[in-house]
Structure formats: C-alpha cells, structure tokens
C-alpha cells in the first residue's frame, strides 16, 4: 500500500507534466498581472474596471474547456471503464465550475460601474449561470451516488448530455434576449486595441495552463482519496477480524 501512495505521488509522465505546468503557471501569472495592470492601455469609455475583462474572458474559456474535457473523458470512461478517466472527467467538471464561478463574480463587478446595474441578463452571463447550475448539479449527483461505480456512470452520462446542451442553451438564451448585437463589442474583433488583444491572448493561455495544472492536481488528490478509502476499508476489516478472533 505504501508503494501505491508513492507511485501516485511522484513518478510517471503525469508528475512530470505537473511540475512543468507548475513552473509555467508560476512564471506566467506574475507576467499577466504586470501586463494587465501596468502595460495595457486603459479602455476609453469604461476606464480602469475594463481590466477585469482579462480575467473574466479567460475564465470563461477555461470553464468551457472544462465542459468539453468532461464530455470527452466521460465518453472515454464509458468505453474503457478506466477509473483514471472518470477522475479526469470529475476534475474537469469541478474546475470548470470553479472558473464559471469566477466568470459569474467578475461579470457583475464589471457591469455595475459600466451599465449601472449588477445583473443585466446579458446573454453570455446568463448562459454561464445556467451552465454553472448544470455542472453544480453534476457535482451534487456524484456526491449522491450510492457507490463510486454508480457515480462514475451517472456522471459520465450527465457529462455527455450536458455538453450537448451547452450550444443549445447558449442559442436559446441569445434568441430570448431578442437577437441584439453583442452588448460587448470590445470583446470581439475590431474594437479591440492590438495591445489588448495580446494581453487577452496571454491571459487566456495562462488560465488554460492553470486549468490543466489544477486538473492534474485534482486527479492526484482523487487517486489519493481512493487509496485512503481502500486503506480504511482494509483497516476496518482487520479490526473486525481481530475482534471476532
């Protein structure tokens, strides 16, 4: 049992990737902060608060990455029944929810000074809220499962169905709002200063690497949780054995 813990902790390609990502993220985050707060020009109409955009949008990218990876790993899990794929799917959903939470927190902070209201029912924010609810449900479903195996199967199904639902949710919310042109023209194409575009790209890459780092860490924690559970089970049996003997 001790070797197992050792194995999941330190060796193999996952551990290597983890260390590389850790170094990259540790370097890139200060760079991002520097760029966002010191070098990028202040947006004319919105002012300083617009800088939250460099965290808001990359978080949304990372959230969508979580949704996509969750579906991918879910499908692969149903096919192979490999516990590691299930852990990956679970971690993708969990970290996706984390990043969607950041989107939902930064959105209103940005909206308040610009539009004068916290919550406008803006299309992207509203659909993000729906996705957040859907994937929070995913996490609750896993927690409510009778067994690890059941949780894995059910969540794999939900992970696939959820990803199919994402584009439909997005379009339905957009149409519901009446086909307005994008409220945030800045976030697409022409309006964007090249320096802003570069800062956004940098932050997006950083957030995605950060996502992947969290993913690997979370999977490792999952493996350790499995080991602890197995050891507890074993210890319980041993104790009962000594008792009866």
């Amino acid at each position: 049992m001790a070797e197992r813990a050792e194995r999941t902790t330190r060796n193999g390609p996952a551990a290597l990737a983890e260390r590389v990502l850790l170094i990259l993220v540790a370097v890139l985050i200060p760079v991002c902060l520097h760029v966002v707060f010191r070098t990028v020009p202040t947006e004319g109409k919105m002012g300083v608060v617009q800088r939250i955009f460099y965290f808001h949008v990359p978080s949304a990218f990372a959230g969508f990455l979580g949704v996509g990876l969750c579906a991918l790993f879910s499908a692969l899990y149903l096919w192979t029944r490999d516990r590691r794929l299930d852990l990956l799917a679970h971690a993708s959903a969990e970290i996706g929810v984390l990043f969607f939470t950041i989107v939902l927190l930064t959105g209103p902070i940005w909206a308040r000074p610009v539009w004068g209201v916290w919550w406008t029912g803006e299309v992207r924010l509203t659909s993000t809220l729906v996705l957040w609810l859907l994937y929070a449900g995913y996490l609750i479903l896993r927690q409510s499962a009778e067994s690890q195996d059941q949780g894995a199967r059910f969540c794999a199904v939900l992970g696939i169905v959820g990803a199919l639902d994402v584009p439909i949710i997005y379009y339905s919310v957009e149409w519901w709002r009446g086909l307005h042109p994008r409220v945030l023209k800045v976030s697409g194409g022409q309006g964007l200063d090249p320096a802003m575009g570069k800062a956004l790209a940098l932050c997006s890459v950083t957030f995605i690497l950060f996502f992947l780092l969290l993913l690997l860490l979370r999977v490792r924690v999952g493996r350790l949780q499995d080991d602890v559970e197995a050891l507890t089970l074993h210890a319980g049996r041993q104790a009962r054995h000594t008792e009866t003997a």
Partner: protein, 248 residues
Amino acid sequence: MAADRDGPPVVEARGLAKRYGPLAALDGIDLTVPAGQAVVLLGPNGAGKSTLLRLLATLTRPSGGRLRLFGEEVLSSDAGRLRSRIGFLSHQTFLYEHLTGRENLLFYARLYGLSDPERAARAALGAARLSDRQDDRVGAYSRGMQQRLAIARSLLHGPEMILLDEPFTGLDRESSARLEERLRQLRATGRTCVMATHDLDQGLRAADRVLVLRGGRLEFDAPARGLDSARLEALLVTPETAAGPRPL
C-alpha cells in the same frame, strides 16, 4: 424443458470479479454449474451472494474474469437471448399492485415475447392456484398469494436456469413450505437452480450442492448430501479470514 445434460455447463465462471470502486464484492470466483444442478449459496451479509446472482442474471457486468452462461460469453453475446433463458425470484415481488394478477402476468408474458401470452398467463395462474382471484388487484392479495404470483411470474417464460435471492424472506411458515415444495418440483423437471439464502436448513433441503461465499471468495464447495447443518453452521461462524474483501 428438461435440461440438456450433455450440453455446455449452464454457468462457467473463471476468475469472475465485480468491483465497486475500491471494494471487491466478488474477487476471483471459479465456478461451474452443470445443467440440472441445484446450488445453494450461503455466507454472511456482504459476502457477495447477491452480486453473484446479479452477474448470473446479466443485470450487472463483470469487472474482471470471464463468465459464460449456457456456453455463451456474457459480454459479447445477445443479452436478450440469454435473459429469456433465465428466471429470477427475490423476496421483492416485482408486481404492480394496481394491476390484477392476470394483467401482471400478461405484461411480463409480453415482455418476454411469448407467442400466446393469454394462454401462458392462464396456465401460470392455474399452477399458482390463483385462477379464481385473477381479476383482483395484486394489492388486495395476501403476502402468500403475492409470493405465489411472483413465482408464477418468474417461471412464466420457461427459464432453464432459475436464480433465487433470499426467496423465503418475509414468508410465513405455510408459504415457505409451499415454496419449498415448488422448488422440489422444479428440480424434478431438471431446471438449474442457484439460490442465495440465510436459512441453512431450507438451503440444504433444496440443494444438491452447497457453496459458501465469504468476503467475495468461494470458501467452501461440497455436495449437499451427507452434509449436516451443524458442521456447516460451525463453518459459517468461524471468524472471517484476513482474505476478506480486500482493497485493490
């Protein structure tokens, strides 16, 4: 429905395992059950009796090892065809209380795609001595009548193998005796039976062969004849060995 004693064994398991996360409910079962044999599964709670029955019923898929039923690999063959050769009886009746006895049997006869569901239902009701109550709702039946109907339901499609999961639970003395009698008849017609039970004596009376499962492993396997229940009881209460369901 006489069993084909020269055909392949009804159950053939090699290293059969079922894991639920870190818990191995079944851990390397090797078991061959020839056609026509009546097997009783004994063992403490959580020993894996129900899991084994569910695997044999194709309700759950093995996570390791091989399982052949009627000579066919379970994972690669048409599950529907296998299922129509298997009957399952548990202490749950599977019956709809708002439907009449006849309607329940008709529903199941059609699920199994029987060519003449009406006739099959009528015959089964007759065998269960429920013909005069066939148009009453099952909710109005006594426990014993419900059990009789449940037995009729599980045999409706003429299964070659019958799996029984604690069928005596909740039955009064009279219904138990009747169920035992029914099991004797089934054995006489050459059907293969696998029964999980807590009750040693009942189990021994109904079986040719006794298996004891413990901690997901097969710990004891002997013919029922000449085995006295006191000895078996002693075996069942000895402390669990360290070989219990172990973490992976």
